[in-house]
């Protein structure tokens, strides 16, 4: 009689499961070290020296950010350009900008933003994605939001909207009043501007490039 085959042996499959799981886990941990280094936040020196970081430092709020097609990578990437005023200043120190970002990130969690909006595409689908909202033409000089809120700059319009969202409805579905203070609104806008500078491998595609081709507009 032939010997029992290893393929029907539970011990063999138990060992296989252990090895496969172990191997996958080790690979994941190794990749995590590499990724963690690549997504650590840059600093002010990086920005001044033109070092490209996937997640730039908080002082990126002192600069103009655009979202442009990179021919080599085949998708759009955030491009950090010349200095740009943010609430009237373009000289935020590392500490000041870091404090603003900290406040904004805390605010984004304390107000449950992610349970209506998506951030980096994750969250709920009841309201627009915020990944590149800083670059949304609706908030720019040509857009409707500045005149609607009676403000002259993008950041002021956004901060005003965040403090009194249900005064400026853009759809039957409105944003509720979440008790956002002026300081928190400023932090949140800094957080949004910073998020738009993160290299998201071209997500979302064609953001803000297409001016309405729906309903014959």
């Amino acid at each position: 009689m032939a010997n029992k085959s290893v393929w029907s042996d539970n011990r063999f499959w138990q060992r296989s499961a252990t090895w496969v799981t172990g191997f996958a886990s080790v690979l994941l941990i190794w990749l995590t070290f590499d990724t963690s280094a690549q997504i650590s936040m840059g600093d002010d020196a990086d920005l001044k020296n033109g070092v490209t970081k996937r997640v730039p430092g908080p002082t990126v709020i002192n600069y103009k950010i655009t979202y442009e097609m990179d021919a080599k990578r085949g998708h759009e990437v955030p491009v950090i350009g010349e200095k740009e005023k943010f609430f009237g200043r373009d000289d935020y120190s590392e500490e000041e900008a870091g404090a603003l970002l900290h406040l904004g990130k805390l605010g984004s969690q304390a107000k449950n933003c992610m349970d209506c909006h998506t951030l980096l595409g994750n969250g709920a689908y009841y309201a627009p994605d915020l990944t590149k909202s800083w670059l949304d033409p609706a908030w720019g000089p040509e857009g409707s939001m500045q005149s609607m809120t009676g403000k002259d700059t993008k950041e002021e319009a956004m901060a005003e909207f965040l403090q009194h969202p249900s005064q400026y409805p853009t759809h039957a579905r409105m944003m509720p009043n979440l008790g956002i203070t002026a300081a928190e609104a400023k932090g949140l806008v800094a957080f949004l501007k910073h998020m738009s500078s993160i290299d998201t491998n071209g997500f979302p595609r064609n953001f803000g490039k297409i001016q309405g081709a729906v309903h014959g507009k």
Binding site: K105, Q109, L178, V214
Partner: protein, 474 residues
């Protein structure tokens, strides 16, 4: 659920867990309905219970009732598998009350306090604002303590009693399940780092450890409900573990396409997540094959008898085999490749997948466990479907499938109009939301949600009543 037929304290504790889970399941569906109504009528409860609040409760209740039902399932099967009473059952009972009380407080704070100022006190006491694991930090520590107690009981019992293959898998799986929660407990200003670790919790739960848990429960169910052969069942279980962890752990990469993480995750995520449906096919075949095999041997004896000793539970287990493959496997694969995901990421597509996957992979089998609890509590030898069981099963399944189809159609509109055609801006978003197909899909989702909820009411009634019914063999 009367406990008079249960001599095992572990099984009694399991029925507590099942009962609380069923109540939270009801809350999940109720707040899901609120959110679904708000898509159709945005003014509904505006600035009272906003969509964000309804959704937090909808998805947190989902996670919580499933965790409760999972803990209950383990307490239920431990005496059967190990042959001894669960070690540390007194602590187990105490931790149940601690856990349940904590959950009630967390939900009341979500509902009544809702949001807080942008500082650490909000994170500690109101909400952490991170989808699925919004629970404030004090509750995080409570959950860790409760999970440690649970895992401790499981390990002590497994090491003292007979350590079957199923118990071994559960021991390894549950410690990973509990340990992964730690990855979601810290705050960082860097949202890419934040989401990197957040996915360790969410993905490595639902696409790895929870799936392995389902494999173990399905194995237990096949042995107890149809008398499948342990050797065969456990061999399959080990194969499933290899396939699930082999694909699921690195399948995590499909969440790392667009959150700031490097481009190599495209290839890793695409490859391994594309493999993720394979174990689900294996699990599907496994359940149906074993059923056919045991029924076939029974038929060969010349008797026209079903091998199933719990019809409603087995129905849910078979629905699990289908639902897991369809909801997690097919609906997941739809949008897992980066070329597709670039446009579907963050749309109702994800929502469609989420509904069918959580239902198909987890709700089904856990409802099956509820019926095993009712059977044991009432000393029933062969449990049959009542009219109510059949109505409940059909309405819940039909309702969820209906919602999934509706959300998939809504997702198509969003992908084509908001994303591909208009480039994902604020205006693009609302153009998509206003599309006729999108609006109609949301109407249908609400209708199907109501069907699901009514089905749940029937299910709850059936679970309370069927134990006393005369149709069963005792």
């Amino acid at each position: 659920m009367a406990n008079n037929h249960l001599t095992s304290e572990s099984k009694q504790l399991a029925t507590w867990y099942f009962t609380f889970a069923a109540i939270i399941f009801g809350a999940q569906l109720l707040f899901g309905l609120v959110a679904a109504i708000q898509y159709v009528m945005p003014a509904f409860l505006f600035e009272l219970v906003d969509f964000s609040i309804a959704r937090i409760i909808h998805i947190n209740a989902l996670v919580v009732w499933m965790v409760f039902a999972m803990f209950g399932s383990v307490y239920w099967l431990l005496p059967d598998e190990t042959g001894i009473e669960t070690v540390g059952i007194k602590i187990g009972k105490l931790l149940f009350w601690v856990f349940a009380a904590a959950i009630v407080v967390v939900v009341l704070v979500y509902l009544l306090v809702q949001v807080g100022p942008a500082d650490e006190t909000t994170i500690w006491f109101i909400t952490e604002g991170r989808e699925y694991i919004e629970a404030p930090r004090w509750a995080d520590f409570g959950i860790v303590v409760v999970a440690l107690g649970f895992v401790g009981n499981l390990f002590l019992t497994g090491m003292k009693g007979k350590q079957t293959g199923i118990v071994t898998v559960l021991m390894a799986d549950m410690i990973a399940f509990a340990g992964l929660y730690l990855a979601g407990m810290f705050f960082t200003d860097n949202i890419s780092v934040d989401q990197y670790w957040w996915w360790w919790v969410i993905h490595l739960w639902v696409e790895a450890t929870w799936e392995v848990f389902v494999g173990a429960i399905a194995a237990y169910g096949l042995i107890t409900m149809i008398g499948a052969h342990r050797k065969t069942v456990e061999m399959w279980l080990w194969i499933e573990v290899s396939m699930l962890f082999g694909s699921g752990i690195l399948g995590l990469g499909h969440h790392y396409f667009w959150i700031g993480t490097p481009e190599y995750w495209w290839e890793i995520g695409a490859l391994f997540s594309a493999l993720e449906p394979l174990p689900l096919v294996a699990m599907f075949i496994h359940v149906l094959y074993d059923w056919g095999k045991t029924q076939g041997s029974q038929d060969a004896k010349g008797e026209q008898l079903s091998v199933i000793n719990n019809k409603p539970a087995f129905t849910w287990f078979v629905l699990n085999a289908f639902g897991n493959f369809l909801g997690a496997g097919i609906w997941g694969f739809f949008h897992t490749l980066p070329q597709v995901n670039l446009y579907t990421h963050g749309t109702q597509f994800t929502s469609a997948h989420g509904h069918l996957a959580f239902f198909g992979a987890y709700a089904t089998i856990l409802i099956g466990m509820f019926y095993l609890g009712v059977q044991g509590s009432n000393g029933i030898k062969v449990m049959k479907n009542t009219k109510l069981s059949i109505w409940a099963t059909s309405m819940i399944t039909g309702g969820v499938v209906g919602m999934t189809v509706a959300l998939t159609i809504a997702g198509y509109v969003q992908v084509l109009v908001s994303r591909a055609q208009m480039g994902a801006t604020w205006a693009a978003y609302f153009d998509g939301q206003s599309g006729l197909w999108f609006v109609q899909a949301m109407d249908w989702r609400l209708i199907m949600g109501v069907v699901t909820f009514l089905g749940f009411v029937l299910l709850a009634t059936d679970l309370l009543r069927t134990g006393k019914s005369a149709v069963h063999e005792r």
